[in-house]
Amino acid sequence: MLRMSWMVFLKDVRMEFRGKEAINASLAFALVVLILFSFAFDPTSEQIREITGGLLWILFAFSGVLLVNRSFVREQSNDCLDILLVSKVPASALLLGKTLANLLFIALVQVVCLPVFSLLYNINLFQQPVWLMGICLLASWAIAILGTVFAAMTVNLRLRELMLPVIVYPMIIPALAAAMQLTNIIAVGKVPEGDDLIWVRLLVGFDVIFTTLSIGLIDTILVD
């Protein structure tokens, strides 16, 4: 199964990098929002340190949903999704592969946006690089797995661009809230400890629960 997930992952990554539709759109969107933030409040004030995490993760949630939205739509032309489903690839491998691909795309957006945010708003986010990577990985996985599952649910809907955010955002709030809190802590150069570790637990627990649920239920969603 892992081998098949890997194949789906490579296929998705290759398709995306040939067209670069979603990733370009998502990056452009993220950068525009980054600039918009500077009008919403005084970008030079100290206050911004307290909302860094919130801003960044709202940004990643928005651009992330733009990315995951494409992952099943991509398969709609020429009935590729049906062909994938009748092939030997199990639905769970399809989900895992697509989630990994989406994780990579979200990570790429982050690789661009984090330094740009640091530069524009004069906040060094890289004082705890290991923590930053860990948080980004865990929270982006949460966006990717839930986003991909819900993208599979909404792929046939007329209003899927609208419906996907409506059902994804309420559901990923726990992961986003945890990521926001933790990012706020590392943005001032501290390491999460003591009471703050509950956010790490929440993030890990969220990922474990929803990954299990998603892999268990994806057959029901996709297989007719």
Binding site: V149, M153, T154, N156, L157, R158, L159, M163, V166, I167, P170, M171, I173, P174, I198, I209, F210, L213, L217, T220, I221, D224
Partner: protein, 228 residues
């Protein structure tokens, strides 16, 4: 269930509620710290219990529907979710009225309140999603999975007061605190009102379930007529 049973249950719940109202206002005294407003808790807590029960029923019915490919389960799930969502809003509204009087504000973003709100949003999303899918078996599968996913937010709402330090009061019922926290007469009143609301809920869910079944039948006939 036939009309007579439903009517009898409805009348029973109405009588039970009237009797509860009498006890609440005529027999039980004002609470020492909060005064008269504490009585809203006799509706606030049971509403949440009712909505949790509805969402649990909806999740179980959805799982059953998917497992057995049973459309009745799907109809039951949507009936339970709709009634549950109504009680969610009652719970939110009664909580807000209480908060305005005790805290002086309508709303605060603590974990309990926030997750209660998220729960309302996710189940509202479930109902919206149902309207968008035309194929009945796809609707059953997709929204069934969504209902199971959504139940996680119910669990978080329930446990939020244990996991975070919330402005929302902690547990008061003796099965969670071990007793000694709430006056037994008042605590029993909370349960009594919950039973009454559950009776009402059964009536509402069954009515809605029948409507949903009829709707599905009409849909099926329409499809048959168009394909001929």
């Amino acid at each position: 269930m036939n009309d007579k049973v439903l009517l009898a249950l409805g009348v029973a719940s109405a009588l039970y509620l009237v009797r509860n109202l009498y006890t609440m206002f005529m027999v039980l005294p004002d609470e020492a710290a909060q005064g008269a407003i504490y009585r809203i808790m006799f509706f606030h807590i049971p509403s949440w219990f009712t909505c949790f029960a509805c969402f649990l029923a909806s999740g179980v019915a959805s799982a059953f529907a998917i497992w057995k490919k049973n459309f009745k389960g799907d109809s039951f799930a949507v009936a339970a979710t709709e009634v549950g969502l109504a009680f969610t809003f009652i719970g939110l509204a009664t909580g807000m009225i209480w908060a305005k009087i005790i805290w002086g504000i309508w709303w605060t973003w603590d974990a309990r309140l926030t997750w209660a709100f998220i729960t309302a949003l996710t189940y509202a999303g479930y109902l919206m999603m149902r309207n968008m899918i035309d194929d009945p078996s796809e609707r059953m599968r997709v929204t069934g999975v969504l209902s199971i996913f959504s139940f996680t937010s119910v669990v978080i709402t329930y446990k939020a007061i244990d996991w975070w330090r919330t402005q929302h009061p902690g547990a008061i019922l003796s099965f969670r605190t071990g007793g000694g926290n709430t006056d037994p007469a008042m605590e029993s009143m909370i349960y009594q009102n919950w039973y009454a609301l559950m009776l009402l809920t059964v009536v509402l869910v069954m009515l809605r379930f029948r409507q949903e079944e009829t709707r599905r039948e009409i849909e099926g006939m329409r499809r048959l007529a168009f394909t001929r």
